[in-house]
Symmetry: C2
Subunit: 332 residues, 2 copies
């Protein structure tokens, strides 16, 4: 292979992205200089935050402009190295974006131990989504034995970890998801005590049955009406962890709000969680969570497609909420 396949932004999406917003191009495989490595993508992670980066609304990443390669985290193999810390054959996690080959000076590149867990988990439950769930739930949510923990987008890589970690802490996990199939997996694979299908069930009614004394922790990945419903169904001194706003990522402007009146009644604490603040916990997290994985205490689901050229269609599916589990594009 002598070329580098790349997927670039062809035009700025309006609302939910379509595959015609993207283009595939081929360029030469880049040369590396001193202190650089050339890596080849094994797995590419597709995540909702990428929609925000494309719009220019992301907290840290600069906007992806028309003509730019789409950004994204990858598991990659080092195929050439002029860098003292990396050797050919090393497997790393880096941010190569939607392309087959990438060049890096090693900054922000982390070596993976392939014996620890399947490589792709470094983009899911053992990667940023897992760390988000771990830090958000344990630091901000403070789960205690017997707590009722509700999480939206429960079959996703963040949601399934929130519910599983909650159970490890002795709490009762309740999921919210958008299909019977997702709800079934949340209950049967991830061990949640129940999962509410928000498309066919009334969340509020189900909550009154499942946690009549209110929700102790709500870990929110969606925002919107679901969050609004939760504010009215909290236990005293409940904690809401705000993590994602799936209901907003495709909007041009945010919806009106907020009505936080019921938060006063429940004396709830609301915290915004951003995973970048918690890198100091990354090594601990990976060590703990890979032990959990080996011990069968946690599980995961991947929504995998093969071939970089399928990244746009898979991303559009994710942004329509039709994904199921952690979205991965496998290249090699």
């Amino acid at each position: 292979m002598s070329t580098n396949k790349q997927i670039i932004l062809k035009k700025n999406p309006v609302g939910i992205p379509e595959i015609t917003d993207f283009d595939t191009i081929e360029t030469d495989i880049p040369e590396i200089t001193n202190n650089q490595i050339l890596t080849k993508t094994v797995h590419l992670s597709l995540d909702p935050y990428i929609r925000g980066v494309i719009t220019g609304r992301h907290i840290y990443s600069e906007k992806v402009n028309v003509g730019d390669t789409i950004v994204g985290r990858t598991v990659s193999e080092v195929v050439k190295s002029n860098h003292t810390n990396f050797s050919e054959g090393d497997i790393v996690v880096c941010s190569n974006g939607w392309q087959e080959f990438g060049v890096s000076d090693g900054e922000g590149v982390r070596k993976l131990d392939p014996s620890l867990a399947p490589l792709s988990t470094a983009l899911g439950i053992l990667g940023m989504p897992g760390l988000t769930a771990y830090a958000g739930l344990t630091v901000y949510g403070e789960p205690k034995d017997g707590d009722h923990v509700v999480v939206s987008a429960a079959s996703g890589p963040v949601g399934c970890m929130v519910g599983q970690i909650a159970q490890i802490y002795g709490a009762k996990a309740i999921g919210i998801a958008g299909s019977e199939e997702k709800c079934s997996v949340v209950k049967n694979k991830f061990g949640f005590i129940d999962c509410i299908n928000y498309k066919t069930e009334k969340i509020e009614e189900r909550l009154k049955d499942l946690c009549p004394d209110g929700v102790d922790i709500y870990f929110d990945n969606v925002g919107g009406e679901t969050l609004d419903t939760m504010t009215r169904n909290l236990a005293m001194h409940a904690r809401i962890v705000l993590c994602g706003f799936m209901t907003q990522y495709n909007l041009d402007s945010p919806p009106p709000g907020p009505n936080l009146g019921p938060i006063v009644g429940s004396r709830a604490t609301i915290r915004g969680v951003v995973v970048y603040d918690h890198y100091d916990k990354q090594d601990d997290f990976i060590s703990i969570a890979s032990d959990w994985l080996k011990a069968g205490k946690i599980d995961y689901i991947e929504d995998e497609v093969f071939g970089l050229e399928n990244a746009p269609a898979q991303f559009c599916k994710l942004m329509r909420g039709e994904n199921f589990g952690k979205t991965i594009v496998t290249i090699q």
Copy 2:
């Protein structure tokens, strides 16, 4: 005087209350039995939460039904006592409501030390509004030297204390209020560095000047658009203390919401504060705050009228937001 003047609910208000929703009646002064006291109202406190009690939406108090005496905190004088803890002439804080005489078994009745501060302050800055400000700001807001603390309804009894306590902690206080006169008093009497007139100024633009690095603590007494604006103008790790929802008390149903997206970016913590949780701090607070008052470190404003029969008109004014300072009805 042989009769007890009382103000009762004549009909349930729709939206902002009107004086025709109330009626004045006269009944016999009640007799007391063993372990009871008869008290005569000196000052009656009018507060926005009473609107919620009338609607039946208050967290603790039972709905005021048509025909019932309106509820409210009072400073009262013990005029007869069959109770070992109270003597004739004692000045107490109790919940006699909108009437001249009340009977109590002493539960929830607190003796006042008249030498400490003017009696009416026991309903304002040294009473529940003051304790709300003190507990909410110091426990949940955690003010630090140099913090920018913004408070809405800044000339009210809660708001003026929040800003003054913030200054005692070395923070910079910025008010939001609804008239030039209120803003002037907030700055000149209460020492805030500035006060934004939300009726004539753009809060967001003024904040960008006054705290270019964002607001560290927002103490919210109003909800609605002001709260929404604040969520977009927070410093990293800001704290929002949710205390009151003046924009909602007159509504039949709460407005749509919430959009808490910006809270994630600022990693803000939001807490609901309810003063009833903080009674354990009451003695400390009164001791500290009356020292502050004597030392000239804090000040206050009262919007006083004389005569129980003026309570309805004064309450309607309060609920239209036309009050200025702590609303007090003085009877004696």
